[in-house]
């Protein structure tokens, strides 16, 4: 009786807890960990991004449904020179929250500031594809020819200026003898902020040049690192500029209150260029990490939506089928690396067999908030990307491949006792969820191949270095979150033997396929080329794909314009509170027309 009086929290409700909308147009949202900073070039995580999407705008913004780029401060752009030159046209009439106009020079300032070594932004690498951005951030130098005074150039087809480390000891350690000889005695010129390939052609036109073809650059520019920061406030207040009273912002909302570990409140910014389309008057972000507490607040109707990965697994039986629960794919790949440099996994047939022996559908059912992964590019995230067939579950074929690889008895059948199981080990980092997966995979191999592969955990940082040096035995845990929403973010892992590539697998033909794909100007043809490269990669099987995580979050039915999307990035200007229950599940709601400008 009391329960039903409190807004349909009864057992038969299709929603979890109360569904009474708050008064007026205000949203109460749980945004995750306490934000590191309100400076978009310092606060590096998703919890911060959620706030920055209210306070700051970039040249582009994330689409509320698909997370691909939509116009924001830039109303349009052109791409030339095989995806290496981009010209962005700024909206006239865009203003900072203090009323001053937003100009092309502000974007140039933003990029140069973000890359300045003194700022020490953790996200600076997001812009490394921009011409000489990495060189400037690393304190590197160009080399002049002593005779002609011209800059020496590198050996890539684009003939960019040659870049060498700025410090003598780094040059001695990193450059090969031939290059050291080439630059010996030549004057070095430190890379300056002005050398970065971002220029203001006039107050409303920005040209960006890149180191290599970067067809996904407009998508990259939605990232918090590229959201415009106010030169006027930063030069006046220094590190203290984000404080209330000092802060100046570029987004649809402006800061009203900040109380650490309690709340950040933003209100509609009346001078925002699209203020007429913004419907929320106020958003309250609650930083919170305790899952039960936030689910309690949600159930009691004290908050209207929560961020992703928040529903405790033990609650899913109750909540999983409700209408306000969402669980779509994310841009994340969870997989195991195969060591292709030593041990039995040097043989591609062994790698394939270990992969064929895993039932990923069963794994997804076991983990509950994941979706099976068949390649390296997560499915359901890139709608028109033609995924290659990818890995399948076929234990019989797995045993046949192992027999073919030499692990067989007199009759030619696979014989588990001939396999050197001591040379194989599944190494993972200490974490409950990672361990559960490892044990599941171990049991699959036991059941389908008759092999008991030992599993071993180590601290995360240790695993990173063990993996980079390929000092693990055969199999190591890996995972990758897309830095930007493009399949290239995943395929690029195999562009070098170093860096993030944990397998040691490297094939110049594969790298060339990627380079050719990125020169392609037609988006769909580019996807087809990337998919062919992925198929080629999967045929060599340097990884064992496992799963993609899914979003696993909740939102009250009266919150409209907020969708399940692969980056879980919600542009708040499209969000509204719908007080009329009859329109809660309308197939098209008023928000959708604002999405395409």
């Amino acid at each position: 009786m009391l329960t039903s009086a409190c807004g349909g929290a009864g057992a038969s409700s299709p929603y979890f807890g109360k569904t009474d909308p708050p008064d007026g147009q205000q949203l109460r949202y749980i945004s995750g960990a306490e934000p590191e900073s309100l400076d978009p070039q310092i606060g590096s995580g998703q919890p911060e991004l959620r706030l920055f999407m209210a306070l700051y705008e970039g040249l582009t913004e994330y689409d509320p449904r698909t997370s691909v780029e939509i116009p924001a401060l830039a109303e349009r752009w052109e791409v030339t020179d095989a995806n290496t030159t981009f010209v962005f046209h700024l909206r006239r009439g865009a203003r900072w929250s203090d009323g001053s106009p937003i100009t092309a020079g502000d974007f140039v300032f933003t990029v140069r500031r973000g890359l300045a070594p003194a700022l020490a932004s953790r996200m600076a690498y997001m812009s490394y594809d921009i011409l000489y951005a990495q060189a400037f951030n690393e304190g590197a130098a160009f080399v002049r020819d002593a005779a002609t005074g011209e800059f020496l150039v590198d050996e890539t087809p684009l003939r960019r200026r040659l870049i060498v480390p700025g410090r003598a000891e780094d040059r001695a350690a990193q450059l090969d003898a031939r290059l050291r000889q080439r630059i010996d005695g030549a004057p070095l010129v430190p890379v300056r902020a002005e050398d970065i390939g971002v220029e203001a052609l006039d107050d409303h036109t920005i040209r960006i040049r890149t180191m290599r073809p970067v067809p996904f650059l407009p998508r990259l520019l939605s990232h918090q690192f590229f959201r415009l920061v106010p030169r006027q406030a930063i030069e006046r207040y220094g590190d203290d500029w984000t404080r209330l009273g000092h802060i100046v912002t570029s987004g649809a909302f402006r800061l009203e209150t900040r109380r650490p570990y309690d709340r950040v409140v933003v209100v509609r910014n009346p001078v925002y260029w699209d203020a007429a389309a913004v419907r929320l008057e106020r958003i309250t972000f609650y930083p919170m990490e305790d899952l039960t507490t936030m689910m309690n607040l949600y159930k009691a109707g004290e908050v209207d939506a929560v961020y992703n990965h928040v529903v405790p697994v033990s609650w899913l039986d109750q909540i999983g089928g409700l209408r306000d629960y969402m669980n779509g794919p994310e841009a994340l790949a969870e997989f195991y690396w195969f060591n292709v440099e030593q041990g039995p996994t040097r043989d591609v047939r062994v790698r394939k067999a270990f992969s064929l022996a895993i039932d990923r559908t069963a794994l997804a059912q076991f983990k509950r908030t994941v979706l099976p992964l068949k390649g390296i590019v997560p499915e359901g995230v890139f709608p028109s990307y033609p995924h290659p067939q990818g890995v399948v579950f076929d234990p019989a074929r797995a045993r046949a491949l192992l027999a073919e690889a030499g692990y067989r008895d007199a009759r030619g059948e696979f014989d588990a006792s001939t396999f050197p199981v001591d040379d194989v080990e599944l190494t993972y980092n200490t974490s409950e969820t990672v361990r559960q997966t490892a044990e599941f995979v171990q049991s699959q191999w036991k059941r389908h191949l008759g092999l008991t592969v030992p599993i071993r955990n180590m601290e995360f940082r240790t695993l990173l270095s063990v993996r980079a040096r390929r000092e693990y035995r055969a199999i190591a845990r890996g995972g990758w979150v897309g830095d930007y929403l493009d399949p290239f973010s995943f395929l690029n892992l195999f562009s070098t033997t170093g860096g993030e590539n944990g397998s040691g697998w490297f094939d110049p033909r594969f790298v060339d396929m990627l380079v050719q794909a990125n020169r392609e100007t037609d988006a769909q043809r580019r996807y087809e080329r990337l998919a062919r490269a992925e198929a080629y990669l999967l045929d060599a099987q340097p990884i064992l794909p496992l799963y993609t995580t899914s979003t696993d979050w909740m939102k009250k039915p009266y919150v409209t314009g907020m969708y399940d999307n692969p980056l879980m990035a919600h542009p708040w200007k499209f969000v509204a509170i719908e007080h009329d229950p009859a329109r809660w599940n309308a197939p098209t709601h008023p928000g959708s027309e604002h999405v395409r400008h």
Binding site: L2, T3, C6, A9, G17, K18, A33, E34, E36, S37, D39, I42, G43, S44, G45, P117, A118, L119, A120, S121, R122, A124, Y125, Y128, Q134, N137, E138, G139, D239, D240, T242, R259, P260, Y261, D262, Y286, M288, D290, T292, T293, M294, N296, L297, K299, A300, E302, E459, R461, L464, G479, V481, E500
Partner: protein
């Protein structure tokens, strides 16, 4: 008395410095850094960060700077919450923890002392067994069980109280205060009972009764003064623990107090913030212990400094 207080205050600073030094060493032993995340950083970016925060300097330089900041009472800027000074974090979080802790302790005294006294007076009778049984439950049910249970009933089934969050003094504080005070109610009730039982058997109480004083005055005027000494000595450390943040309750109820900061500061390896909180906590404990010792001298005529 004054010499005693001065002497104690004089040793406070070296003790705090010793505590922060040990803490500083332990932080250095823990793996990882404030900037390490899921993805490894490019080496150049890591170098930029280390230069910006002086982590590339020799250890004794960093240690000296840390000690200097503690002595000056300015703990510097948080590494995790860039641009936010540790002092401003302390000044925003301490009032929350202190308010919650203070209220919880007040509640514990208001319930625990009468319950314990009552039990002592009616020793081995039904009221004694009942109140001590309840106290035993209060002691044995941890706050991470009691808190969610109260939330489940009062906030999510009957919807009479909010389930979490800080909204100043009001309905939002009821559940965390009750949850936090439960253990202390039980402890204080048991301490009061024990103290009162001992005092009630002593000679001066027999004398008071023999004088024909009414039982009320015997209890409140004479027995209480001695019987509450165990509660008093418990109060110093207990209040210090409560004021400096109560991790579990603050997390369950999402309160912006010091406990939340302390946990996350450790997870984030946020050295200035850890040092700041540890220094604040140790000063609080030392000062409250001193206050208890002083109060002891005032209450118990046998204690002389």
């Amino acid at each position: 008395m004054r010499r005693f207080i001065l002497r104690r205050l004089f040793v406070t600073l070296p003790m705090v410095l010793a505590v922060v030094s040990i803490t500083w060493g332990l932080i250095r032993l823990a793996p990882g850094n404030f900037y390490t995340g899921e993805k490894p950083l490019p080496p150049a970016i890591e170098r930029n960060i280390r230069e910006k925060y002086g982590l590339d300097r020799p250890w004794y330089v960093q240690y000296g700077r840390m000690l200097g900041s503690v002595v000056q009472g300015d703990f510097g800027v948080s590494l995790r919450y860039a641009g936010t000074s540790v002092n401003s974090i302390l000044s925003s979080a301490v009032p929350v923890s202190a308010a919650l802790g203070g209220l919880a302790y007040l509640l514990a005294l208001l319930v625990g002392i009468p319950a314990g006294t009552f039990a002592a007076v009616r020793q081995n009778a039904a009221p004694d067994h009942l109140s001590m049984a309840i106290a035993m439950i209060g002691l044995s049910v941890p706050s991470f069980v009691l808190g969610p249970t109260l939330v489940l009933w009062l906030a999510l089934t009957w919807f009479v109280l909010p389930p979490a969050r800080w909204e100043g003094f009001g309905a939002h504080l009821v559940l965390p205060t009750v949850t936090l005070s439960a253990v202390y109610v039980a402890y204080i009730a048991r301490l009061t009972r024990a103290g009162m039982l001992e005092v009630l058997r002593s000679n001066y109480i027999r004398t008071a009764r023999a004088k024909g004083l009414p039982e009320r005055r015997v209890l409140l005027g004479h027995a209480m003064r001695g019987g509450l000494l165990p509660v008093l000595s418990f109060s110093g450390p207990a209040l210090a623990m409560l004021i400096t943040g109560t991790v579990v309750v603050e997390r369950i109820f999402a309160l912006p107090g010091l406990g939340n900061y302390f946990i996350n500061a450790n997870l984030n390896r946020d050295e200035p913030l850890i040092i700041g909180i540890v220094a604040f906590t140790s000063i609080t404990i030392l000062v409250l212990n001193l206050a208890v010792d002083v109060a002891y001298g005032l209450l118990d005529p046998r204690v002389r400094y």
